[in-house]
């Protein structure tokens, strides 16, 4: 069993609050991803779990046992550092053998375990090399091998793929997921790449400025972002945000300067009224949920501002009133710059946020 629970964790560095009352659980055999921008407190969260950092307040539980005072070597976790931290004077073999030697493995046991993990990670031909003789991708695999050569209760991974090039990163993403399933291991994984989080995580936790924004399965976080930050951070092309207000009389959402009006989805109107703020709202819609109208009818009217062809699709910037929104279209859609077009909005997939609290208003 590996069940980690962070309870009301607060950590300050001087006057900087790195973590503010974090509550987080990692279940047995789960791939848990903490996602957030640089400086959000992701690494600090991981280091608190590892025992490398002592939280100022709060409890760290492992399998219902409080481990705040347990030292890192006694926690039986493995940590993959962002900079890999391979021992520079040890060969690949010695690096991977190092955690086994702490556990008094015999030579035969060591050889067998190292053979198995180096084959799994396809680095068995590199065993006699020194870290500085390896490429970035190879170093990263050695760091993973050093963590995975034993069966720790928990794997802690601090942006292990960040230093790799794009191709290698997508390849390693798939491998990590496969290995995690194969070993039936529990992963606590930190990244600033939302794509990595969505593709790897069984659940993801979004962190910003030391505060937990939202926790949930990737699809749920993507579909129902809890606030403006999560909505804007997750998604390969950022969600479009437009200032708006709600008119209870006509039961419509009104764009800035009244340039557009939309009927919200079932129940959203009541939710907005119940929330008490009908004036300062943000209308959020993902680029893929806007389509170009083939007729003269449409929810929004706008002017093509710029086109970004991305091969498999084209992203157009459309000016709607004072707002600039992005839409995704098929690669064969050709729109001249400056062309007036009508857009259809998939209103069931639109989000309304309270601009003051930044929280989503759920229908």
């Amino acid at each position: 069993m590996s069940h980690l629970k962070l309870e009301n964790i607060t950590k300050c560095f001087g006057s900087l609050v790195a973590l503010d009352n974090i509550n987080l659980e990692v279940h047995d055999q789960e791939f848990m991803v903490v996602l957030g921008p640089t400086g959000a407190g992701k690494t600090t969260t991981l280091r608190c779990a590892a025992g490398l950092e002592k939280p100022d307040e709060g409890l760290v539980h492992m399998d219902r046992e409080v481990i705040n005072r347990v030292s890192p070597p006694e926690r039986d976790m493995a940590f993959v550092f962002q900079n890999y931290a391979l021992y520079p004077r040890k060969t690949v073999y010695q690096n991977i053998a190092f955690p086994l030697e702490a556990r008094k493995f015999t030579k035969a046991q060591k050889d067998e375990a190292i053979q198995r993990i180096t084959q799994l990670l396809r680095i068995d031909h590199l065993q006699d090399r020194l870290p500085r003789q390896l490429s970035g991708g190879e170093q990263q695999r050695v760091a993973l091998a050093r963590a995975m050569v034993r069966q720790p209760r928990l794997f802690l991974m601090d942006e292990p793929l960040t230093n790799l090039d794009f191709k290698l990163r997508s390849q390693m993403r798939g491998e990590l997921k496969r290995i995690q399933r194969e070993l039936a291991a529990t992963f606590f994984y930190v990244t600033n790449d939302q794509l990595e989080a969505l593709s790897l995580g069984d659940r993801i936790a979004v962190l910003d400025h030391g505060e937990l924004q939202q926790t949930g399965p990737p699809q749920e976080v993507y579909e129902n972002p809890a606030n403006l930050f999560v909505a804007g951070f997750i998604g390969s092309t950022r969600m479009n945000f437009m200032d708006c207000s709600y008119d209870p009389d006509s039961q419509t959402i009104v764009g800035r300067d009244g340039v557009w009006r939309l009927s919200p989805k079932e129940g959203a109107g009541q939710a907005i009224v119940a929330n008490g703020n009908t004036e300062h709202l943000v209308f959020g819609i993902r680029p893929e949920d806007i389509a170009i109208s083939t007729t003269d009818e449409g929810d929004l009217a706008g002017k093509v501002y710029v086109a970004e062809p991305l091969g498999d699709r084209i992203v157009y910037d459309i000016q709607v009133g004072q707002d600039m929104i992005k839409i995704k279209t098929s690669p064969t859609t050709m729109l001249g710059i400056g062309k007036q077009i009508k857009l259809k909005v998939n209103i069931d997939r639109a989000h309304i946020f309270d601009k003051n609290s930044t929280k989503a208003i759920q229908a």
Binding site: A50, S71, N83, A85, P99
Partner: protein, 336 residues
């Protein structure tokens, strides 16, 4: 086209500037080299000169050419001064006793070795703590440590002398006020304890001199070693102490060696304190060198020979350490 004209246009001026720069570079280099090596050369050839050639005017510079080198001076180093005038030459040779040189050289080696090992060891550990842990008032402490190096040594000479003279007596005076018999007896037993003329005293003093330097050097160095190394080792199942021993110290070893070269040289060359504190016992070579200079006519040949012998251990140590000094540090495995 412009690039073509630039390539084909040849002027002698850049070439001349180039050669002038080259010449200046080598001239300064060679001049500096000669300037620093000449005293050593002079000392070395003087040590090989027969007594009659040492003070010859004009001076001679080339052994074998200007004079026939001799090892007489080196023999003299190990023997005491002649008993005095009036004896026959043969009698003088027979009555001469072994000089203090072997004893003082042994003392120098012992004191310097112990000083270096302890100062580098303690300083390294302190520097590690400064580098890795959040310590209250760390900046003040580091400044205080450095400030001990700011005073000229002569300023602290008197207080050190007083402290070293009879610390046992001071402690005893205090203990006699306590009306408990065994404490008074203990005070009585250490009454004569003095740090003067002792190995411990002078070694403690040299460690005190060396520590600030070691702490500052090693602190800067540990800051360069990513803390992830020992954190990785701790996650791999080792205690912090094991992580330091197995991972950090091997990384820090070249720096420790470089630092110890400076500590060795400082302790080896120290003259004023040992002259004042250890006049009778546990004396090192520098005061001995001074003593043979001191009386009557200066025997330059013998002095030079002593200096050469005194230099050899330092040269050997620096020579052995040089590979580590030059190799520096390699951070292969960490992207920064």
């Amino acid at each position: 086209m412009t690039t073509n004209t630039q390539i084909t246009r040849t002027s002698n001026l850049p070439k001349i500037i180039h050669y002038a720069k080259e010449f200046l570079f080598w001239f300064v280099l060679i001049a500096t080299f000669l300037f620093s090596i000449f005293p050593l050369y002079w000392m070395f050839i003087t040590s090989l000169k027969p007594r009659t050639d040492v003070e010859m005017t004009p001076p001679t510079f080339m052994p074998f050419v200007d004079y026939q080198p001799t090892l007489d001076n080196y023999v003299d180093v190990f023997l005491k001064d002649r008993a005095g005038a009036g004896f026959a030459e043969a009698d003088q040779e027979a009555t001469r006793k072994i000089s203090e040189f072997p004893t003082t050289l042994t003392n120098s080696v012992i004191i310097t070795t112990v000083t270096t090992i302890l100062a580098v060891l303690m300083g390294t550990l302190a520097a590690y703590a400064f580098s890795r842990f959040q310590i209250k008032g760390e900046a003040d402490m580091r400044f205080f440590i450095l400030s001990t190096r700011m005073l000229p040594p002569v300023v602290v000479l008197i207080p050190v002398f007083l402290m070293f003279n009879q610390p046992g007596e001071l402690v005893n005076n205090a203990l006699q006020n306590i009306p408990i018999s065994f404490i008074q007896a203990f005070g009585e037993s250490i009454k004569d304890f003095s740090l003067r003329n002792s190995y411990i005293g002078i070694t403690l003093l040299y460690i005190t001199f060396g520590l600030p330097f070691v702490v500052w050097m090693m602190k800067g160095f540990f800051d360069e070693i990513p803390k992830e190394y020992e954190e990785a080792a701790m996650m791999d199942g080792y205690s912090r102490l094991e992580a330091i021993w197995k991972i950090v110290l091997p990384e820090a070893f070249p720096a420790m060696l470089a630092t110890s070269v400076f500590v060795v040289i400082t302790a080896w060359n120290e003259f004023v304190f040992v002259l004042l504190l250890n006049r009778d016992n546990a004396t090192t070579v520098p005061p001995f060198l001074f003593s043979i200079l001191g009386y009557g006519q200066v025997e330059w040949g013998r002095t030079a020979a002593t200096s050469v012998l005194f230099l050899i251990p330092i040269i050997v140590f620096t020579f052995l350490a040089r590979n580590h000094l030059l190799r520096g540090v390699t951070f292969g495995a960490v992207r920064r």
